[in-house]
């Protein structure tokens, strides 16, 4: 996919910059002194992070934190237009890898950390240009009432519509990636031999279950809605989304078996106006006590190994990551997806419309 240069030459960057600046007729408010602007997924996420990270950080350092929403395309446009409006990026690891490969990111200053210890961060999610602030995962969720006589406990079960009948859902490429991993697991590929994904084999397996698929979901909200409205009785879904429904007494459950771990990470624009502040905020966010607090509320897994002991046993049972994930789950390989997303997207779009 990266066989052609993605970075525009300076003259083009300038032209594109002018074009992007044209619609931005609103005046930008003057930046407060000592402010870090952070891209976040928005919504309740901001409330949790404000309570456990941003406000305590401001109290400790005097640096204000301002969360803003920005889509992947917007982040890319900012960099290409040479007009980076934010400092810290808190987003999916794949998206950060795209930016890293474009040369948009500054290295994480692990050697300057004062609150977190680099050696405490899980090795799989500690990279030169991006460091994970939590892990979430895609699990097999289902309706307890529908499967009262025995629930699907693996992706092979999910693919077995004879034994476990009912409408289902899986993710669409529009959510970031299609659930090709689960198709391969159902087809008998062991979870440590998934990558590089055999796309043709995965789609052949998808062909078998497709008549049962009511819809391929593109947003976390849609997947939660379809499962709680009984539009589907089983499907892949992010653990946090599902846990919220379960906590509201929805008759839903899930299995930890064969869950796919995905990574949310921090990166810093190399052209950011407040790189030092962004480095500080990343360092602050990843310390065990802080991670434990926001992980607990978000129902996602800490990436600092020292944060796990700070969670109660019950909280650990709900969180991905840690020892259980090592045994029953697997990490989604974002590098493979980053290398192949273009190709897979084309094949997927064609397959969808067959």
């Amino acid at each position: 996919m990266t066989d052609r240069p993605r970075i525009l030459r300076p003259s083009r960057r300038l032209l594109l910059g002018a074009a992007l600046a044209a619609p931005a007729l609103r005046a930008f408010p003057a930046r407060a002194a000592g402010e870090v602007i952070v891209r976040t997924p928005g919504g309740t996420y901001d409330d949790v992070m404000r309570r456990h990270v941003y406000d305590p950080f401001t109290k400790e350092t005097g640096i204000e934190v301002r969360p803003v929403a920005a889509t992947s395309a917007k982040l890319l446009a900012m960099f290409r237009a040479n007009n980076v409006e934010l400092d810290l990026i808190d987003t999916g690891d794949g998206q950060l890898l795209t930016l890293e490969r474009m040369g948009a990111l500054a290295p994480i200053a692990y050697d300057k950390w004062r609150w977190s210890k680099p050696e405490d961060i899980t090795a799989e999610v500690k990279n030169q240009y991006r460091v994970a602030n939590f892990v979430y995962c895609t699990v097999l969720g289902y309706n307890k009432e529908h499967f009262a006589g025995g629930a699907p406990d693996s992706w092979a079960d999910f693919w077995n519509a004879g034994k476990f009948p009912g409408p289902r859902m899986l993710s669409d490429m529009a959510s970031g990636s299609a659930n090709l991993e689960f198709a391969l697991l159902a087809d008998g590929v062991p979870k440590d031999k998934l990558y590089p994904l055999d796309v043709d084999r995965a789609l052949k397996a998808m062909d078998r279950i497709r008549p049962q698929i009511r819809r391929f979901w593109d947003t976390g909200a849609l997947s939660a809605q379809m499962l709680s409205d009984k539009e589907v009785v089983a499907g892949s879904i992010w653990n946090g989304r599902l846990q919220v429904l379960i906590d509201r007494k929805a008759p839903l459950a899930y299995t930890w078996n064969e869950h796919m771990i995905q990574v949310q990470a921090l990166g810093i624009f190399k052209d950011a106006k407040n790189i030092a502040g962004a480095q500080l905020l990343a360092d602050y966010m990843l310390q065990p006590e802080v991670q434990a607090k926001y992980s607990r509320d978000l129902i996602y897994g800490p990436t600092n190994t020292k944060a796990f002991p700070l969670l109660s046993e019950e909280e650990r049972a709900r969180a991905p990551g840690g020892e259980r994930s090592r045994q029953t789950g697997f990490y989604q390989n974002v590098t493979w997806w980053e290398d192949n997303r273009d190709r897979v997207n084309r094949i997927w779009s064609r397959w969808l419309q067959r």
């Binding site: 032209l15 594109l16 074009a19 997207n345 064609r350 419309q353």
Partner: protein, 278 residues
């Protein structure tokens, strides 16, 4: 008195500036900069061939065209009687019909689409009524398939059709209908041989504007469609957001833009009442 060219240009200037600054310039730069990224002309053509002939875009264009066509015909079928009623009534009845058509039009498409999703779901209101009346034994699938997309889009696009038809119907000279009646034509004949031909340019204009809007639709099919209902706008969004392959998105955009502009050229010939039929 017709305006002079200079006066016309002066009056249009603010709108032209706005349109070029906020639409033409950004989209022009997006398209040229993205495509220039591909390199030389032969390389651009090679990529265009790979993207546009990959199968996905072609099928999606067919899907888009088909959904657009069905939706457009449905809005005409539903809209023509409504517009006719609207053009014939006065006072409170006129206001009531107009409000019913225009008010939803002021609500965001996303909100209206979600409202339909609540109604059409497996356990939604419509299925509950059908099950309650014993008309069906199993919930009917009205959502996350082509049916859902067509219902949702028809609803969202209906006002455009109604208002376009209304304009044409209102312009019909009532004395012509009276003359036909005076000469002994039956109501059916008056409608078929006098009224309908006089409103035909409005029908064509309504069909074109609705179809143009339909083929660019994104929100409704993305939310209400099933696995195979991939419209071109959805493919473009994926290239922009998911794969971040902007050259690819630009190529697809050009195709959609070309189709839209050609239809618009046809539309502009029919949009002037009276011009095309004379």
């Amino acid at each position: 008195m017709p305006l002079t060219l200079r006066a016309t240009l002066l009056l249009l200037l603010p709108a032209l500036l706005l349109l070029s600054g906020l639409f033409l310039l950004p989209i022009g730069w997006f398209l040229t900069a993205s495509i220039a990224e591909l390199g030389t002309w032969p390389e651009i053509l090679e990529e265009a061939e790979a993207v546009l002939l990959s199968g996905a875009v072609g099928r999606s264009l067919l899907t888009t065209g088909w959904i657009g066509l069905v939706v457009t015909l449905l809005t005409l079928l539903l809209g023509y009687p409504v517009s006719y009623a609207l053009s014939r009534v006065r006072g409170a009845a006129f206001t009531a019909i107009l409000l019913c058509i225009v008010l939803p039009y002021f609500t965001s498409t996303i909100v209206r689409t979600y409202a339909w999703m609540v109604l059409l779901g497996r356990n939604g209101l419509i299925n509950q009524i059908l099950l309650g009346l014993g008309l069906v034994a199993e919930p009917v699938n009205l959502l996350y398939n082509r049916t859902g997309v067509i219902i949702g889009m028809t609803y969202v696009l209906l006002p455009y059709m109604v208002l376009t038809l209304y304009a044409a119907m209102k312009a019909v000279d009532q004395r012509l209908l009276q003359a036909a009646e005076g000469m002994g034509a039956s109501p059916g004949q008056i409608f078929l041989r006098v009224f309908m031909p006089l409103t035909l340019h409005g029908v064509v204009a309504g069909l074109l504007i609705t179809f143009i809007l339909a083929i660019g639709f994104f929100v409704t099919p993305a939310l209400m469609g099933g696995p195979g209902d991939v419209m071109v706008a959805m493919l473009i969004e994926r290239e922009v957001e998911i794969t971040q392959n902007w050259p690819s998105a630009a190529l697809m955009t050009i195709v959609l833009l070309a189709v839209t502009l050609s239809l618009y050229a046809v539309y502009s010939r029919f949009a002037e009442p009276g011009e095309a039929v004379r």
